[in-house]
Structures are given as structure tokens and as C-alpha cells.
Subunit: 760 residues, 2 copies
């Protein structure tokens, strides 16, 4: 855990250059706009520790999986989020010396991310080795108003000299992924051009043949006037630039504007991309930095109106939640149904693929409550569109007859992850798609989703479970062998309770969907029966038999659910008894030691109780929480938020607050020592849930909104805003007082602490 | 299973060119001499399916392991057996046409491996696309008399034309490993030279900097006289050749002799290698093919005298055992204590590393019984020399205080394998080193091995087990969690019986070694105590407590040992009920399906009963064999031999015979559909055990040789020869008659079918 960032309600602030934390800051201060994103690397040269990362949504590379040890059934490729051509570079030389903060004496370094407007600012003074001293202020943003635009304003002032200055402004596709095996490059050049005033490179991804055109133009001003300069151009393989030579006069700020257009062949015909990029550049340069920024900031203003959460009296908590909402919002805008929410968003390239079960289990509630209805629906339809691929994925592993086994990681519906204990065994994810449907239908009331899309998916998933269980003559029950639960610190276990529970529930839920569709649109039902070759009688009888006879591991002595068979053979210890130098375990312990230990990455028994809260009484919940929580190391970013919700329900207020800080400030404080690889984007939706479902106690039961809010002791008040079935509600919780305002829509009865309240 | 090879007592014969089986034949017909080896690829060009493979003992490359998914504690590199510079090529062009059997009409193709003399022969007639017809006869060997020499006699005869012929004779270090990730090359050039008459390349492995000098010279004759020819030379990166242009006259055989010297920096000073190679070439060319071959064949004659097994009345069985002995003998000669026995020997590059537990558990008995005493002792000392590395290996995984965790795969004592379920979890291998010591001391009576080397190793291994177990309060026993047994079709299981049994036995065996050393050399004991910081009282009390309180999974209903906890939850099926198209499972089923199934790669309960036979009564053995054998798919080459021994003991004669064929002809008949990747060298020692321990019933009890021979119904007789404590015995088993002859050494009492017999 590190606490080098300054707390502020709307800003993330780093004061002083921290070379060892630089990669962390690059992640935390990242910018994005749903289409493209950029780590907070410096515009000028930097020879210290850094990871330059530009990303373009939907553009990936299928890296080889046939390295190391390959198992039958692995996918052909491992999809990688691609480090894309860089557009931010403004390299600076004065009297032959490069401005490089790793080689200068740096003072007054400040890096600020203004979350209200999505602006990254940086300023410093630097003394070069020969004593020349300059002051720099830079600002940049990725436009939320136009997802293909980035803009930089970079101001440099000589403090103790006048001399020539040489600026190199480039676009560069000669980039490499940090996780590239053998440093292979993934981009080939298609086109490049450098003219005085602009530089353009179109690069193509190997194998997938996505094209990305990166174009830049610039203006150099002093005193608001164009500066007289000499501009030369260079190109080399996958690279084009403008070199601007001019004079830097003492105390006369020189202002460099660099505008970039980043276009993807996902959105443009390949043969038109250069033309479109040029047109975009010309638009952009005409509008200018200030006008572009104003449009961008106004989109942010609107977004904040929709989904801001305020916390009064606790700056760390307020900063945390806003940071989470900010990052989520700039990662996924919901406009493009081909896209999804990658665990690192635009902040890093770890975790390769784009879509995990995180989307269904964590992100969906945030988008249901804060975005227009088509956004969550698009997230569900994304999986419907992948149904055939999920069936094919199942077939590769030996499943048949339309069993849908959704991939653990995917770009386009195909599995693209190759650890057997995950790819083949973390099977609970296929039911996350079913659970999301329940969540969606409960929240929106849109049961016709079953008819239109849902039932087909559910039949496929139910078939998967039917084939994945086996009958244990020893236990006289159905068992599920060889799985990995959400707690990935156990692999290849038998009868993981969470998995068994989810499997059985899915079979009942599929029956529920059948009943609905049959009762409401029998013609469509018959169409689905024909399409899926569904043998209703035989299949549903089997579903019932399995769900009625599923085995659930249990310890009668402690009266707790068992995470899996054999869990009690472990040495049962508490996290608090670990030495600090052993944490995080995943960086300090060998894998087998982690596996053998009782320590839990994210507690899947508690995850199950959280998802199916109404199936358990409070005592059961408490016993299990008290048993598992002390063994949980929360080394999955998805873990603490669930504990906020459960601790809240159990009245463990102080614990809930501490878990809240952990999820909200996970990246700001680098809790798990891994933020330098990127921020934990999907778990940020869990932070939102912590407030709304945890402290706010929001639930849906029988189509009605329930609240049971309380105020953490550290806070004066908090408020959140949700959209619900055409209404907009604002809930403000202060000491002894809860204010619920219907801001928009027809009157609505909500249940507040168990009592109906009519909102008008 | 394929049966395209002809049966013969001393030869392996392939008649007709089988392009689809070519890579299998390349493995089966491989040559080696303990120092170098060569797959049976063609001398001339071949554009069909082939895998050119030359190998030099002890030369390896540390490939990256940081590909795919890396776990904490993995080794830094994955050592690869290296495809070494090729010395066999004789490329042939006539009238601009390349002789390439894939492009010709081929008749009378015969490939013969004469195991008696270690000679590979090949002959065929080929009609080139333009109608030219040639007859070719080639012979080659890797000299067993001088491990640095290879020689080829290649005779070509024009059958229907006379024309110019161009021969390209090269040495080529521009080779690549089949399993190279991203086709990386592992060799750099150090030196090359081509002069008329010779070509030399010295290449250096990247990272490990081994040097290998490959040099060749040649002679071209017709009618026993040197042929007039034009010789030109070429070099390019890592390559040197001689191009010989001469005339091929109809019906006048042209004979090409190519002699190669292959020198490794493991045996020569780097700066002297070229000089030494040249000297060797000059020796070789002076001696000539026939003399060299004679020396080579006489070494083989001596080897066969030492270790031949004869089987009368069953050519398939006779061919099988000789093939196994032949391959084993040409893989490991026991002369160089730095070397060990790689699972593929010189026949392929799969399995990367050189040394597995195969050496201790399978190969040692063969070498104890057929080689001079220093050979098995060298194999044990090899591990003693790696003790410090084994301790360091343990430390990487969190073990401490001198716990020795031997690597699963190694070249030099360091672990070089990176599958967590193997590297971290297949821990039984560390006790294979202890078991080998027991086996060695029992056989040789050399108890002083404990004093000199063994006890230090045993203390280290015992410490490993002490730290690896944990106390289960649930079971009130010690348990061992998270392991993979020899049956690698189960991963990360709890309480694998074999592992628990071996762990507890090791602790008792270490105590036994202490008692011996203390009783015989108390000074040395104190030296070991000091060196290992051994706290005898505390540590041995802990050993006793653990071995007395170890948990062993058991099914009281069936009265069988359980392979591991939870085994009975599986759907218990028999191999015979599998569809043929599902076999071999490891090529047809996804990994998770294999893991969930009851099917067993090699039955580790039976392996344990085999190793500790005297701990179990016959009924127990039978119940377990009858339970586990039907579930065993024998997809480990190490499996069938153990079943021969057990089935023999149980009187299951027909089963024993079938298992024998399976182990003996595993590669000849390509049982597991993987021989093209190389032969299963280490399991060949298991084939030897099948005869001697299985059919012959040989055991050591209380320092005495026991036999309980029987004759498989299919055989008329069989015989084997063993060395034992200074004696040489020959045992011949015929119908109703067993003949045991003491060929050498002092008189000896052996126990034949329970009765003492004095041999003079």
C-alpha cells in the first residue's frame, strides 16, 4: 500500500516526481474515451521507468498460445490488447541537450488529473545538465465528444537563457507490447506520410489485419501568435514526424499544440482512413484546443450529472468513488455493441482479452442504474451473439448437443486464454451470463428479453451443466469435479460450493424462463424448440433431477458451507497472522504454497451468498462471513466490494468502511502492488455497488426498489443517483435522515427500511 | 498401433517407403553412441514429412519460460535438448534435378537397422521426374568405439543413363529445434572453413555457450578407385560444404564416403576444437569405413554379450527386447558422470531436459544388473552432486533449513520445467532418489554409500517431507495436500496414496541410514551433523511422529487403497468400454475431461505396491490390481512394465504377456501414437525389468538373489544375464526347466522358487 497521491474531491494529484512510482502514476492518471486511451506517460523523452501505452478499442492481436505447455482443447491464440501507435510524443532538444526528466534536476513537479473535466495536467521546472532551466506546463485530453481525437497543449518557458529549440512531433507505430513473447512486434506499416504540418502512419495488425491510422498536426505559438520556425520532416519504418526548429527566448513561453486523430478500421473503410484522418485533423485545428476542450468537458459534465456519487466529510472516500466512476465511464460508453469492458480498460495491457465474467457479475449493475436502458441490454446481447461460438467452444472440450460453454476470456466469442485450470475449469463463468439475465430482468422488468434472446442462451448453458455434472454412487448425489471457483487460489477442486450452487440454480432458472416464454409467446417458444432441437420433457426432467439432487459440501460441526471438498484438511489460519513481508501472497509465495494454504483470493462462498442473499438467513450469512472473511486476502480486485455489501447487511459497519476504502482506493493506494500494470477497471463497478448496495442497501425484490441505507461513521452524508424503469431517483443519506427524491418519471413506490414510501 | 515394420530377431526392417510413417521410422531407426546421436533421416534431400535431428550429449539451451502464464517460483529457463549441427547431408543433383524421394517414383525401398552391429542401412531405386533411374544403397553408424565419429557409405548407380552428377556434402549449424518457440534459433557461428576435401563449422549455443565443432571429409570412389572430380567449396552463415562434380556412368556404382567428427566443448578446450577435429578427420580417413565399422561392431558384440536377452519362439518379443536394450545402450554408456538418461535419448527433442525420476525408478536396475558397478553408482552420485541445487530449489518454493526438493527435470541440478502441477506438485520424485539408494544398497550391499554420500541426501529429502506435510485437525492425521502423483492424469489432488506412502517411508529410511552411519562411522556421522546442522533428536522425533501418523486414503467397502481423496466420486468405468476413437485419451480428450475421468495414465497405487511389494499380502495386491488395472490407459510409457511384474506375481500370465508386448514394442508398433517425436528411452529399462523381474521373478531379499521364473505360453524359452556382487549369472528358462549358470565369480547361494540353490 502506498499513499503518495494527494487527496482531493475532484482531482488526483501527484506532487514531486517519484521515479519508482512513475508506472503506477501512468496507470492511475490514464485518459480514455471509450474508443481510445492513453497512459499518463510524458510527452517529452524519459529514460526512467516508464511504460508507454496507447490503446484503441476493439483492436487486438492473436498471439500464439503454443508456447510452454499446451493442452488438448486450448484455443489457437491468446488475444492481446494491443499497444497502439503513439501520438503523444513531443521530444525537445535545446543546444543539443534532450529534455529528459530522468537526467534533469526537477522541481515543482505536479501531475494532476481533473476528473470533473477529464483533463491531465503536468507542470515542473527542470534544470538540464548544462544549467539551462525551463518551466513546462502540459495539458491533454482524449475527447469524450469525439472518440477519435486527442489534444495536447504543451508550454515551455526558458527561465535563465535564450537559445534554439528543436521539437520533434511524431506518430509512431514502431511500438511493442510489454507482454509480447520474445519481443515480437505486432504492427506492420501500411502507409506513412510526413509533410510540414502533419505526420500520418497507417499501421496494420499482423494476423487480424486491423488498420489504425494515427495522424497529427501541430501549432507552435508565442504570445498567441504563430512562431516563425523551420519545419523538416522524417519518416522511417512505421514512423513519421515533423521537426520544428525555432527560438526559445528567456521568459517568453512557447506553446505547442499537438492534435491527433486516431481512426480504426472497425469504424472506417480501410481505403478511406487516411482521407478521413486528414479531414478530422483539419476540423480539429480549425476548432482549436480551447473549443475542443469545452465540448469534451461538457460531455463529462453530463456524465457526472448521471452517475456522480457524493460523499461529504471524507475526502479519501469521495476521491476514491469518483476515480472509480471516472475510469469506468471513460472505458465503456455503451455506444458500440461490439465492445465490452476489459479488466484494464485503456490503462495497461495485462489480462490480454477484453471480456471476462466481470462484465456480468460486476459491471452490469452500474450500467443498469446509471446509463440508458440500451447499454445494459447491449451487454447481454453481446453474449447472445456469441452463443454459437460458446457452443463451438464446448464442442472443442467434448460437450455436445448444443451445450454452451462461454469462454473465460474473449474478444469475439472465441476462448483466448490458455491456463487449463482457468480455461477448462473456471466454469462458473458460463452461469454468470444466466445470472446477469436474472439481474437485468429483475431490475428492468423486461421479461421479454427471455423471449427474444435469453431462453436460447439459457438452454445452451443448462445443457452444459447437465453434461458437466456426474453422479457419485459414493455420495448418492450429483457432483461437479475438477473446477476452479472465483477463488482462483484453489485449482482443480471437487465440489466447489459456489459452482455447484450456481449450476443447480441455473437449471431452475432455465425452467423459469421456459415457463415465461411458453406462457407468453408459445409460437416463439416452438421456434426456439425447433432451433435448439430442444427435447423439453427429457431435458427439463433431467434439469430437475440434477438441481434436486446436487451435493453441497458442508461442515456440520461449524455449521458453515465448505468452499470445496477437503477444505478442512488445510491448516486453518487467519490473514492477520501472516507476516507483512508475505503479502501480497501472489507476489511472495510459490503457487503450490498458495494452493495448499487456506488463504482465499476472493471468497466464493461469500460471493454465492451475496448473489443469492435471499436464500440464506442472517445467522447463516454471519457464520460463513465470520469463518471465511478472516482467511480472505482480497488479492482479486473483485473481492472487497462483495464484503462491503455483506458486512453492511450484517451490521459490521467499521469493516464495511475499511473494505470500501480498499475497493475505492485499490489503485490510488496500490493496495495489491500491481497498479503499474494498469488499473482494475471492472472492479470499479464493484466500488459503485459498495455504496449503492452496501451502504445504501439497494435491492430489487418483486420488481420493487428497496433501500436500507446507513451512514458510515466517518461520513457526514452521501448521495447517489439511479435510473430505474423510466425514473431517476436521487438518494441522499445524512445522519438520521434519508432523502429520496424522484427527479424524473412517474410516481414510484419504493421500500425504505421495509416500509413502502410513495415517491412523486 | 501400427505394424508396418517387419519382424526379425536382430534387425528392424521397413520395406517400402511410407511417407506418413517416415517420422516414426526416423525415431525408431535412430543411431547413437552415448556422446552423439542422429535420427534416421535421409542423406539426400527429402521434401516430404521429416524431422532432421542431430544431438550432442550434454549440450542444451535454456529457452525462456516466461511465455504463456508464469507462476511465482518457476525456473528462469526451460532447458532444451538441442538439435545440433547436421553432418549427414549428401545432396544429389543430376542434370539439374534433385534426388528427392518425395518427388520420385520409389521402388524396393528398404530401411534396416542392424542392432547386432549398430548399422543403419537403406536401399532403393528411384525414378526421377525425367525418367532417370538410380539405385542407392547407404550405410551409416555413430561409432561406439569413438563417440565423436560418424561415418556414411553412400552408393549410387545409374540404371538407365550416364550424366554429370553434383554432390553437395555439408556441415550445417543453421538448424532449429522443432519445439523452438517462435522459431528462434539457438546457435551462433564461431568458425567456419571449407577447403576442397573438408568442411568445418564451430557453432556456439546462445546463453549456455557450449561449442560444438562439426567437421566432415569425404572420398568418392568407383571400382575402389578415387574418382576424378571437380570440387568447389561454399560457406554461408553457420554452414560449410564441398560440392563435388563428377560423372555417373550407367551401371558403374559411385561410392561416396562421408566421415564426420563431432566435438563438444564439454570434452575439449574451445580454442583447440578445430585443431582436434581436423586431427580426428585425418585419423578417420586413414582408417577408412570398413576398419572404423569393425571397431564399432566389436564394441557392440561386447555389449550384447553383457546384456542380451534371448527369447525363443516369439520373434516379435525377441525383436522388442533387443530394440529396447539397443536403444538404452546407445543412449547411456555410463562413462561420463555428468551425463544422464534423457527420456528421448538421441531420438528426438521432446521433454526438453535430460534427467527425470525415470532414471532412479526405472533405469537404475538395468544398469545395476548389466554394467560395471561404477555405472549405477555414478547415477546416484549425480544426484548427490545436485544436493545443494535441490536445497536451493526448495528455497525458491518457500522450504527452508536444508530441505532438498529435487527438480522434476534438470540438466545441471536446477529445475527447468514450468507446469505448476508438475514442477511444484509432482513431489514424489524427490523420494525416488531415496528409493534408488535402497535399491542400490540392496543390490550391491554397498551400505557405505550412506556414509559417503547417501545420508546427506536423505536428511535433505526427509526435511522436505517434514515441511511439506500438514496436520489435519479434521482427520487427526498428517496429510499431504496439492500433489500430482505418477498418474499425471490427476493434478493437484489431496492425499495421493503413493505420495503419502513414499513420504512416510522416506522418513523411516532416513532413520535407517542414520542408524547405519552412526553405528559404523561415528566420526563421519558427526561431520554430517555439523555440515547439515542436523538436530538429531528433534528432527528424528518429528520424522517418527509423521511416519507413524500419516493418513492413507482407503475404501473399506471394496478393501482397496484409494488413489487419492475423492477418487470414488468419479464415474468408475473401464478402459475396455471406451470407444477406440477416443484413444489415446491425451490426444483425443480435453485436459479437464481426462482429469475428471477415472482413467489412469500410470497406476500409482500399483506403482507403490510394486516398489514396496513386501509390505502387502497377495490378496491386497490382487484386489488393488483388479480395481485399478482396468482403469489404466498406459499412456505413460512407464506404465506397462510395472503391470508385467505385478501380473506375473499374481499369476495373470496372459495379461503379463500382453503388457510385455506393449512395453517392448511400444515404439516399434507406435502404441501411443507419439513415436514420431522420439523413442521412449527410459521406459526401455522397464522392458528389461519386465523380463527379469516379471517373468524371471528376480528379487533381492536380505542380500540374496531370488528367482521365481515362469515361461509365457507363447515362448519356447528365454534367457537373461545379470551381474551381481562380482558374479555373472546366466538364467535360462525353458518349459519345465530353469538353468542357472554362474559364468564368473565366487560361488553364490540363490533362492530359486523359495529354495536355496548353491551356484558354483
Amino acid at each position: 500500500m502506498k499513499q503518495y497521491l494527494k487527496q482531493d474531491e475532484w482531482k488526483i494529484i501527484e506532487e514531486g516526481l517519484n521515479p519508482h512510482y512513475n508506472k503506477i502514476s501512468e496507470s492511475v492518471f490514464s485518459l480514455g474515451n471509450g474508443r481510445m486511451g492513453q497512459r499518463a506517460t510524458f510527452e517529452e523523452d524519459y529514460s526512467g521507468e516508464t511504460h508507454q501505452g496507447s490503446y484503441v478499442a476493439g483492436v487486438y492481436y492473436p498471439d500464439k498460445t503454443r508456447v510452454g505447455w499446451w493442452k488438448n482443447g486450448y484455443p489457437e491464440y491468446f488475444a492481446k490488447v494491443l499497444n497502439a501507435p503513439s501520438w503523444i510524443d513531443i521530444k525537445i532538444k535545446m543546444a543539443g541537450q534532450t529534455l529528459d526528466l530522468a537526467q534533469c534536476q526537477v522541481e515543482k513537479f505536479v501531475r494532476v488529473l481533473d476528473m470533473k473535466t477529464g483533463l491531465l495536467q503536468r507542470s515542473f521546472t527542470a534544470t538540464l545538465p548544462d544549467g539551462k532551466k525551463v518551466e513546462v506546463e502540459s495539458k491533454r485530453f482524449c475527447s469524450m465528444a469525439d472518440g477519435e481525437i486527442g489534444a495536447i497543449r504543451y508550454q515551455i518557458t526558458a527561465l535563465n537563457f535564450s537559445d534554439d529549440i528543436v521539437l520533434t512531433l511524431s506518430v509512431n507505430a514502431d511500438v511493442v507490447n510489454k507482454d509480447s513473447n520474445y519481443d515480437e512486434k505486432f504492427w506492420d506499416e501500411v502507409f506513412k506520410e510526413a509533410t510540414p504540418g502533419s505526420a500520418i502512419v497507417t499501421a496494420q495488425t499482423r494476423k487480424t489485419f486491423f488498420h489504425v491510422t494515427t495522424a497529427m498536426t501541430h501549432k507552435v505559438e508565442s504570445d498567441g501568435k504563430n512562431v516563425v520556425s523551420k519545419v523538416s520532416t522524417n519518416t522511417r519504418e512505421k514512423y513519421a514526424d515533423n521537426v520544428v526548429q525555432t527560438e526559445l527566448k528567456q521568459d517568453k513561453p512557447l506553446v505547442i499544440y499537438k492534435y491527433a486523430a486516431v481512426l480504426s478500421s472497425e469504424n472506417h473503410a480501410k481505403e478511406k482512413m487516411v482521407e478521413h484522418a486528414k479531414a478530422k485533423l483539419s476540423e480539429v485545428v480549425t476548432a482549436g484546443f480551447d473549443v475542443l476542450f469545452e465540448k469534451h468537458a461538457s460531455v463529462w459534465a453530463h456524465k457526472w450529472e448521471e452517475c456522480d456519487i457524493t460523499i461529504d466529510g471524507d475526502v479519501a472516500a469521495q476521491q476514491g468513488i469518483r476515480f472509480n466512476i471516472f475510469q469506468l465511464t471513460q472505458t465503456y460508453t455503451g455506444e458500440d455493441e461490439r465492445l465490452n469492458i476489459g479488466p484494464k480498460g485503456f490503462t495497461g495491457e495485462k489480462y490480454g482479452g477484453s471480456t471476462y465474467w466481470d462484465t456480468e457479475a460486476y459491471c452490469l449493475p452500474f450500467f443498469m442504474s446509471t446509463a440508458e436502458p440500451k447499454v445494459p441490454r447491449n451487454l447481454l446481447v453481446y453474449r447472445y451473439k456469441h452463443l454459437q461460438k460458446a457452443i463451438e467452444n464446448g464442442m472443442k472440450l467434448g460437450f455436445k448437443d448444443g451445450a454452451a460453454f462461454y469462454p473465460f476470456v474473449t474478444m469475439n466469442g472465441e476462448e483466448c486464454h490458455n491456463e487449463w485450470e482457468i480455461t477448462f475449469e473456471e466454469i462458473h463463468r458460463t452461469s454468470a451470463m444466466a445470472y446477469a439475465m436474472r439481474d437485468y430482468v429483475d431490475y428492468t422488468g423486461d421479461q421479454d428479453y427471455f423471449t427474444e434472446y435469453g431462453l436460447e442462451v439459457l438452454i445452451g448453458i443448462a445443457r452444459f451443466w447437465t453434461q458437466r455434472v456426474n453422479w457419485s454412487t459414493d455420495k448418492n448425489k450429483y457432483v461437479i469435479l475438477g473446477v476452479t471457483g472465483p477463488n482462483e487460489y484453489e485449482n482443480n477442486v471437487h465440489n466447489n460450493w459456489y459452482t455447484n450452487y450456481l449450476g443447480a440454480w441455473t437449471l431452475r432458472f432455465a425452467q423459469h424462463a421456459i415457463d415465461y416464454v411458453k406462457g407468453n409467446d408459445v409460437k416463439r417458444f416452438e421456434e426456439i424448440v425447433a432451433k435448439t432441437k430442444f427435447n423439453e420433457k427429457v431435458e427439463t426432467e433431467m434439469w430437475k433431477h440434477i438441481s434436486d439432487n446436487m451435493y453441497y459440501p458442508y461442515d456440520p460441526k461449524r455449521k458453515v458451507i465448505l468452499q470445496q471438498d477437503g477444505f478442512l484438511d488445510k491448516e486453518l489460519m487467519h490473514v492477520k497472522d501472516l507476516k507483512p513481508e508475505d503479502r501480497p501472497l501472489n507476489q511472495k509465495w510459490s503457487w503450490d504454497r498458495i494452493l495448499r494454504s487456506c488463504f482465499i483470493k476472493q471468497a466464493d462462498v461469500l460471493q454465492g451468498i451475496y448473489l443469492f442473499e435471499d436464500d440464506f438467513d442472517l445467522d447463516t450469512m454471519r457464520r460463513n462471513f465470520d469463518f471465511y472473511e478472516p482467511m480472505t486476502v482480497h488479492e482479486s480486485s473483485l473481492s472487497p466490494c462483495v464484503h462491503v455489501v455483506l458486512a453492511s447487511k450484517l451490521g459490521y459497519k467499521e469493516q464495511a468502511y475499511q473494505f470500501y476504502l480498499r475497493t475505492a482506493r485499490l489503485d490510488l493506494d496500490d493496495y495489491n502492488n500491481d497498479t503499474e500494470e494498469g488499473c482494475h477497471i471492472t472492479s470499479m463497478a464493484g466500488t459503485w455497488m459498495s455504496v449503492v448496495k452496501g451502504f445504501g442497501g439497494m435491492r430489487i425484490r418483486d420488481g420493487k426498489l428497496h433501500f436500507a441505507p446507513y451512514l458510515p461513521d466517518q461520513w457526514k452524508s452521501y448521495s447517489f443517483r439511479i435510473e430505474f424503469r423510466g425514473r431517476v431517483l436521487k438518494v441522499k443519506v445524512a445522519n438520521e435522515k434519508v432523502e429520496t427524491v424522484l427527479e424524473h418519471g412517474e410516481q414510484l413506490e419504493v421500500i425504505m427500511n421495509g416500509k413502502p414510501v410513495l415517491l412523486k
